[in-house]
């Protein structure tokens, strides 16, 4: 693969955009909902506690799984689009 073609640059940009998007969600559910923004979610009660607690002990982990599968699926798609996937 030649290093400096137009496509290579776009491929890398698409890759970074995807990573950036995933990291926003990643930070939002863990550092956001579960920790810093927990007081905002205090009004939503769930099983004797609030939604922030649920995100800290369940929701963030479930979101992480979804994020990795989404990343793998999108990234493998992008590889194909740019023709850099492995046969």
């Amino acid at each position: 693969m030649s290093g400096h073609s137009y496509d290579a640059e776009n491929y890398w940009k698409a890759n970074l955009r995807l990573i950036f998007g995933c990291l926003i969600v990643w930070a939002l559910v863990s550092y956001g909902f579960a920790i810093l923004l927990r007081p905002l979610l205090a009004g939503i009660s769930i099983g004797g506690t609030d939604l922030g607690f649920w995100f800290a002990q369940q929701g963030s982990i479930l979101t992480f799984i979804a994020l990795i599968f989404f990343y793998a699926w999108r990234m493998n798609k992008i590889d194909e689009q740019f023709g850099v996937h492995e046969e």
Binding site: A34, P39, G48, Q57, Q58, S60, I61, L62
Partner: protein, 584 residues
């Protein structure tokens, strides 16, 4: 059949299985030994990563930590899973056998590779001692052997499958160990969730109604423990900066730990590596979603065992204590002292705030100390589950400890044989010679780990601070910059790793003692003395930031990396032509 016989059958049966797998999966080449031939299926690899990752800490200690800390210790749940989101994007065609090899090639420097080897060895050795010690405890409790004897048995089993099979043997035993540990962890949890809430799924039971009281189970737990002077289980906390940084340190530490990363070198394609990260987290989450339920339910069970008639009534008589309390008293992990000589077990939080209440009730101090590590192991007995569940827990705890130990030992031995011996000392070593060197360094590593497991040095208890701090502050940034920046050069990377590492270690040593020697700390390890409330366990995240900053600044004032290195970075970014891990 006696409980002892049942335990022997479960543990012995699982060990036999691991050894049979080892004989079947013998390594014939260095490629087999380092990366299991490079042809592992993503789902299989996901399972192996699950066992590799979930250690004695996850299996035995984590639920106890959450039970003790409630909401604030959710950090472990998020921290030890969230790192996989960071890992996934840099699983690329490293095309290497080891982590230091990538760092050495990318930063075109033997010194960079050497720094990485040292970080790897310190982090992994700290980690492996904890696994061996954990295996020793499980043996001494369930198989009634001396814990040193237990350690030696564990070491022999690991020796057989890790030295014979290398990564290949480890991969397939880890798959079996994953199955054993997840069944062992979830079965008691399902039983307990059913008993307490009627819901067979523990993660749902956690937010369901407690059958006996008709209240949500977390509300009931809060009520019981706050009545006894403990902090509320679910309440929010004040020091959020530390909670954020601690979670971040665990996450980036996870993404920088070599024994996890090398598992991703075993699949054939980059696309497979990405899928296996997803599968790994699915398999890990089965335990991590269950753990918080185990934590709160076991804590409630413990409280209702001691206070069968409610917290306002008198606690049980010491004579009437259940059998499991007696069993654990023998190990010294539960201790009772009748301070007010009334023959009853007062379990409460002995703080000034509760002083008046305690005096009014005629209590002279908390009388029961329960080591939080026993929570998961004692869980089936606390809930009166049948004997075979206890046997299963014993086999599961050992599977968790041994699978992680094997992964770590492989990371250590490959760093020695591939990075030190082949990389520096004797580059012309033959394939056969390197395979032999790998087996010998693995054997030495096992002997050292067993010895240190039996005689744990001061740093062994500091796995979270030391292993995660080092991985977060040195290896993770170097790997990230190696892929995501073309500008960072050899001098920048080395300067970054060394300052990140030094910064992190100094902060830890100031509070925990220099080289963890008791009494040599400069400041007491309490929240009032921490800079901005940042605990020494959370400092790895700041160390990583220091590493990034230094590396960028130094790289920008020194020469650009050579063209062929910039091309190497380019080529790492594109999956095509990756193939499986290979040697140069």
């Amino acid at each position: 059949m006696s409980q002892f016989a049942i335990n022997i059958i479960f543990v012995g049966g699982s060990f036999l299985l691991y050894i049979l797998i080892a004989i079947w999966a013998k390594a014939g080449s260095t490629k087999d030994f380092y990366v299991a031939g490079g042809g592992v299926h993503p789902v299989t690899n996901g399972m192996a990563i699950g066992a590799d990752w979930m250690s004695a800490a996850s299996f035995i200690s984590m639920a106890g930590l959450i039970a003790a800390g409630g909401y604030s210790n959710s950090t472990f749940l998020m921290g030890w899973t969230g790192g996989y989101v960071l890992l996934a994007p840099y699983l690329r065609k490293f095309g290497k056998f080891t982590v230091p090899e990538f760092i050495g090639d990318r930063f075109y420097s033997k010194n960079a590779r050497l720094v990485a080897v040292i970080c790897l060895i310190v982090a992994s050795v700290t980690y492996v001692i904890g696994q061996m010690a954990g295996a020793g405890v499980a043996f001494s409790r369930f198989l009634e052997v001396d814990s040193t004897m237990g350690l030696i048995i564990a070491a022999v089993v690991v020796f057989v499958y890790a030295v014979l099979g290398g990564m290949k043997g480890i991969t397939y035993t880890q798959v079996a160990q994953y199955c054993v540990l997840i069944v062992a962890y979830t079965i008691p949890a399902v039983f307990i969730s059913l008993q307490l809430t009627g819901n067979p799924l523990p993660p749902l039971g956690l937010f369901s109604t407690h059958i006996d009281s008709g209240m949500p189970i977390l509300e009931k737990l809060n009520q019981v423990i706050t009545d006894l002077g403990f902090n509320s289980y679910t309440a929010d906390i004040d020091n959020k900066l530390n909670m954020v940084l601690f979670t971040l340190s665990l996450m980036i530490g996870t993404a920088g730990l070599p024994h996890v990363i090398i598992r991703f070198f075993t699949v054939p394609k980059v696309a497979d590596a990405r899928w296996s990260a997803g599968w790994a987290l699915v398999f890990i989450a089965l335990l991590y979603l269950t753990a918080p339920a185990v934590a709160s339910m076991a804590r409630l069970n413990l409280m209702t065992t001691i206070y069968p008639d409610g917290t306002d009534a008198a606690p049980i008589l010491y004579e009437d204590r259940p059998n499991w309390v007696k069993e654990w008293e023998i190990t010294g992990l539960i201790k009772f002292e009748d301070k007010n000589n009334d023959g009853r077990i007062q379990l409460y939080n002995d703080t000034p705030a509760y002083q008046a209440e305690a005096e009014a009730r005629g209590w002279a101090g908390n009388e029961l100390t329960v080591n939080r590590d026993i929570l998961v192991l004692a869980n089936p007995e606390i809930a009166n589950l049948p004997g075979w569940v206890v046997g299963l827990i014993a086999a599961g705890g050992l599977a968790a400890a041994l699978s992680t130990a094997a992964g770590l030992l492989l990371a250590i031995s490959s760093a020695v044989s591939h990075d030190l011996i082949k990389g520096s000392i004797n580059p012309n070593i033959s394939e056969k010679g390197e395979l032999l060197a790998a087996r010998i360094s693995m054997s030495v590593a096992i002997v050292v780990a067993t010895y240190l497991g039996a005689n744990p040095p001061g740093f062994a208890a500091q796995v979270v601070a030391l292993a995660f701090g080092i991985a977060a502050a040195s290896l993770f940034p170097a790997l990230m910059m190696g892929i995501f920046s073309k500008r960072v050069n050899n001098i920048g990377a080395i300067a970054g790793m060394l300052t990140g590492l030094a910064f992190t270690l100094i902060y830890i040593f100031v509070y925990k003692g220099w080289l963890f020697i008791p009494g040599t700390n400069n400041l007491p390890d309490t929240p009032d003395n921490w800079v901005m409330g940042i605990s020494p366990l959370s400092i790895g995240a700041i160390g990583a930031i220091v590493n990034f900053a230094v590396a960028f600044v130094v790289s920008n004032v020194t020469e650009e990396p050579p063209v062929e290195i910039q091309e190497l970075v380019e080529s790492v970014r594109y999956p095509r032509g990756a193939g499986s891990a290979h040697d140069h």
